[in-house]
Amino acid sequence: MSSVMILEQILNFIVDTYMVEIDEIPLNESLIDEGIIDSFGLIELASFLEKAFLIQVNDDDLTRDNFSSINKMIALVDRKKSHD
């Protein structure tokens, strides 16, 4: 799966779940800092990544760095998929 396809699925999920328009979603900024998600949003996103991309998000993966932007989340999914 390409990074573009991963991006598309994450964006669709965010638009659908958090009542934002696609052009309001930053790719390199924190979704928390932008007021798009809260702590439940982080839980939801981690769960979404597991189910949508069939990866296992472990405790060690739950870091600010991995979830601090959409591009960081895509990188996490890429890394996890490449280790499959």
Binding site: Y18, I32, I36, D38, F40, E44, S47, D59, T63, R64
Partner: protein
């Protein structure tokens, strides 16, 4: 109050709810979206049922208790306590945060239910001065982002955060693997039925509101909304929060019928949306004044869409408010009408 506001013709979400659109026949976009996503939700819940069974069946005994149950004395957490003990066979510690506003009848319910189920019970009462300061700051400053408050009032959010953090402290100190609470779908997202309560991971998302509360109240908020590094640094595994009520297909009447044999009765001195807390009417009042909609709209509309409540029952609930309690609560929290107008202006300026 929002009694006469324009609402969806199927649910009760109103015209001021964020991002709502009324489509054909006055049906809102949330109801129409639900029609498309029913199958996905059903498979989520089926998977959650399997995962919960596996988690409970394969639990490893590390301490005295299997689960800490956040027990407010309301009907939903009473039902969760009953399920935990009788359906899942867990050895539980019930925990109640006494915020000073729990109705007398609710306290009687709490004592009868814990005795009837034979469970240990722990009550934590924050100092009244500190609790009121946190509640006041939550109500009259923009502590939380608007998106956080689409399904909960600001004071309820602070109170529930105290409950969650205290429950996590108890779980970590006593090595309890599960934290249960009376949340329903509509109150929490479907992806949050089961989750690892990873304090460090979630701490960043709470930092902005925590800093605002510190500015208003002082560092004493850390005693209620943070966990000390000494405890967190020792954690080998965080407990799971498991919201078992979300996988039950049950109506409010069925819940009340199920808990009645434990001695639970409906309190009369609370509003239609709460079965334990006398702050609720005031919290809803502030939310309606500031945002123009009732914070229970999402939760009750979810129950309507699931066929667990009628639209008329839901409307009765949000219209059943103990308005006579608003002025005394405002006085007890030293809040004036102008304070609420000020915070409304702050939120409005962010639109």
């Amino acid at each position: 109050m929002t009694n006469n506001i324009e609402r969806c013709s199927k649910c009760i979400q109103s015209k001021n709810y964020p991002k709502i659109k009324f489509e054909e026949n006055g049906v809102c976009n949330f109801c129409n979206k639900k029609n498309k996503s029913t199958k996905i939700e059903a498979s989520f819940i089926d998977n959650a049922k399997i995962k919960i069974s596996n988690l409970f069946d394969n639990r490893i005994k590390r301490g005295e208790y299997d689960a800490v149950v956040c027990y407010s004395g309301g009907k939903d957490s009473t039902y969760v306590l009953k399920l935990a003990v009788e359906k899942y066979g867990l050895n539980v510690l019930a925990f109640t945060l006494d915020n000073g506003y729990i109705a007398e009848v609710a306290w009687k319910n709490i004592r009868k239910v814990v005795d009837s189920l034979g469970v240990d019970h722990w009550v934590y009462r924050p100092s009244s001065e500190n609790y009121k300061a946190i509640a006041r700051a939550s109500a009259i400053t923009d502590v939380y982002r608007k998106n956080t408050l689409t399904r909960i009032s600001a004071i309820c959010n602070s109170c529930i955060s105290m409950v969650n953090i205290t429950a996590l402290k108890i779980a970590l100190e006593k090595k309890i693997p599960f934290i249960l609470a009376g949340f329903t779908l509509g109150q929490i997202p479907i992806n949050a039925i089961i989750y690892k309560n990873h304090y460090k991971f979630l701490a960043d998302s709470r930092l902005e509101s925590l800093n605002k509360l510190r500015e208003e109240v002082g560092d004493v908020v850390d005693d209620y909304l943070c966990i000390k590094d000494e405890l967190i640094n020792e954690v080998k595994e965080y407990p799971h929060n498991v919201n078992i009520l979300c996988i039950e297909d049950v109506t409010e009447t069925e819940i009340k019928d199920a808990i009645a044999p434990l001695g639970w009765v409906s309190p009369k001195d609370v509003d239609g949306c709460s079965s334990n807390c006398m702050l609720n009417t005031f919290n809803n009042y502030v939310h309606e004044e500031v945002f123009g909609y009732n914070p229970y709209e999402m939760e009750l509309s979810h129950l309507i869409r699931e066929g667990l409540m009628t639209r008329s029952e839901a409307l009765d609930k949000i219209n059943d408010s103990s308005v006579e309690q608003i002025a005394p609560i405002m006085a007890s929290l030293s809040i004036e009408k102008n304070d609420i107008i000020s915070v409304k202006n702050v939120y409005d300026s962010k639109r």
